[in-house]
Symmetry: C2
Subunit: 432 residues, 2 copies
């Protein structure tokens, strides 16, 4: 796609122009990688979507003692397997990019975790079919596998160093995170409704999952572009939302005395599935915008490169090194009048190159500033998730409790939630 990176054969003597070109090639090469990352995120998102549905159905199946959703489950497993193959196919296609570059240590490791989880899905499904696994354990098993896939998306998103593209990734990551919370809500809700009752713990869990969704979607809307927001709003206007709210009400308000109509399980599953499919629709739109933006940026960058390679040639034809003259720039600009170039062409050529270099430097500076803002949003969400996971493991508490502990810490110390999460992460060593 892009001109190959210059090979390691060194020039007779390093020259400014060569490195300016190399810098532009770097950008081009990066944009190619982002396109691949986008494809990886897309296939991962599709697999997550299938596994989320399979998880939901599994819980209707287990919650109903195997009387409901037996055939639905089988066809969903087929869908998941198909998507898993597509995911593995994608991994193999970008294997070279992933392992050939020393830039994605974390990404490679989270791919390892994801593959490890996927490899044991058949065992999990067998145990579900033979009812030899409690529903709670089954949900945890799916949650964990999907969690690995979402971590993979986080790490892929972090390899993006173009601000416009990165902020789309932030929207994507938060959308997927919120969608997964909705998926967990569907799964736990399916369990409760198909059993006809919600324990106190289960209700608390449902409440947490609803709050967590809102948090993720707030960040999503902050980074989403207009098209996305329009679709987002039209989705939330759907009339059947009322019914979801009603069922949520039943699930979150525990009432020991009265048991619920187990038939609600089907409508709950159907409604939440509609909701989650909406979110998938949004996800695909983000992916589409991401792809288009990458192509645009790639074309821009390639034209810029072509333009400057042309300039470099013209300089070489003129038979002189591209650095023929004293030019005082940046800080010294004010004094450049004091500086007499060896010749007028010299001044022109010298300026033209230094201007390009300065231009590139300024652009990269600004890019980095904008990038930092997108990165922060990504890092905040990530830090919170990871800190919660650590607390859950270290204190053997459930997710909602872990998040509650984090919020309490933040309140007590009057610090922001992400800050607190970061200090938890930096103490990981102590906690283990």
């Amino acid at each position: 796609m892009a001109p190959a990176m210059p090979n390691s054969v060194s020039p007779a003597r390093p020259r400014a122009g060569d490195y300016l070109i190399a810098s532009k090639r770097c950008e081009l090469h990066n944009l190619e990688r982002f396109l691949q990352m986008g494809k990886l995120v897309l296939t991962t998102g599709n697999l997550v979507h299938r596994l989320q549905r399979e998880r939901g159905a599994t819980n209707v199946f287990l919650g109903s003692g195997g009387t409901r959703f037996s055939s639905e489950l089988s066809s969903m497993v087929r869908d998941s397997d198909q998507q898993q193959r597509a995911f593995e196919q994608e991994l193999m296609e970008i294997h070279g990019t992933l392992t050939g570059q020393p830039t994605s240590t974390s990404l490679l490791n989270s791919i390892a975790a994801a593959l490890h989880g996927l490899a044991s899905l058949p065992d999990l499904r067998r145990e579900v079919r033979s009812h030899s696994l409690p529903a709670e354990a089954a949900i945890h098993a799916y949650v964990e596998r999907i969690g690995h896939l979402l971590t993979l998306v986080f790490d892929a998103a972090e390899t993006v160093v173009d601000p416009a593209i990165a902020s789309m990734m932030v929207a994507m990551v938060n959308l997927m995170q919120g969608k997964e919370m909705a998926g967990q809500e569907r799964a736990w809700g399916s369990l409760g409704f198909s059993r006809g009752r919600f324990s106190h713990a289960l209700s608390r869990r449902m409440t947490h999952l609803i709050d967590a969704q809102e948090q993720s979607f707030t960040v999503f809307t902050r980074f989403a572009d207009t098209d996305l927001l329009t679709l987002w709003r039209s989705h939330n206007g759907e009339p059947w939302w009322q019914e979801i709210r009603r069922l949520r009400g039943l699930a979150c308000s525990v009432n020991r005395d009265r048991s619920l109509d187990t038939g609600l399980a089907d409508s709950w599953f159907a409604l939440m599935t509609r909701r989650i499919d909406q979110l998938k629709e949004l996800e695909d739109l983000v992916e589409d915008h991401f792809h288009r933006r990458c192509i645009e940026r790639y074309t821009e960058a390639r034209n810029a490169l072509a333009h400057e390679e042309k300039l470099m040639e013209s300089l070489d034809e003129s038979g002189r090194a591209p650095d023929p003259v004293l030019v005082v720039c940046t800080a010294g600009e004010a004094d450049s009048e004091n500086v007499l170039p060896s010749s007028e062409t010299g001044r022109r050529l010298g300026r033209s190159i230094m201007d390009l270099v300065q231009q590139q430097a300024r652009r990269l500076d600004q890019v980095n500033q904008e990038l930092n803002q997108a990165r922060e949003a990504l890092e905040d969400r990530r830090a919170i998730e990871k800190a919660a996971a650590i607390l859950m493991q270290h204190q053997q508490v459930c997710e909602s409790e872990a998040h509650k502990q984090l919020r309490r810490l933040a309140m007590d110390q009057g610090r922001k939630l992400p800050e607190v999460a970061r200090s938890v992460l930096s103490m990981t060593g102590l906690l283990r």
Copy 2:
């Protein structure tokens, strides 16, 4: 040095173990690159040192109307040329690493700027010899070229993603920054003393350079290890420091009526050169520690890799995929008891791999947290320098005035200096 990264030939089917190994290889590969970056920083530092001395002598020469330092200057130019060749040699040696990886867009561009500046040194020197260049313009010309070399060091430091090594780079960058401020102080002071008087502007500039040094050295001491601090303290205890303070006093307190003994130029130059050579000594020590630490980390990482490759082999010999069993980890740890592995060996193997993956994930998380702290310190200093440069160019003010404006902004808005600097950078587009 390290095992080559796996080539793009994809495995039959992607497996967890392969990606765990690939992740470890990534780390190893990174550490190799840091070693090369360290060498680049070292040679750059040496070249900067020579150019700083040349700049100082140039100003005694110009300030004294060519009566002083004529021969010294010639020999210093020879030293600089020699170091410039070493620098270019180093660049060619790591040419493949630099241009072959899509990780250093900024670094490549700052190398272009540095080379461009160096290429025009001969013209600059000619103009100095022929007195066709005002001393101020000559200083600016050197300051600009050295500035490009320091930016290169910044960018090289930023490619380091190992916390222990990164914080050494932070110490290095701030040491070099402070040393350059001292070098500029020597240059402007040489001009003033050899002319026998300090204008109001010149005195203000000296004051700013002294303050700026202190700022950089404060950060340096924050990130320096014990050996460095010991050497740093012993340096500052030297008796001849008193004399530097006395001369600084003369330079900073303007006294129009009385002109200074121009003979002071020589002792000023000698004293400041002693001071700057001390700083170079520190610089070399940092470099030495950096190198040693890289080797240590490299050895650790290679052993870890070897250990895990062995494990993978043993798994492959056992003829089964390294993901034979359901294991619920992290969040689900508490529930893993509910999960029955297909076999005990299965459980053992399954655990051993997932444990390694989890271990790697935890380590990488913590590494990133620590890294962010080093990065911040680097970014703060960088943002301030760049914001000042933009103000200087945009408002045509001198460096001390630009820094004063930043400090005022910070005070008025009750924000930290780095924050203000960042908002200036993010507005670069508007300012130009």
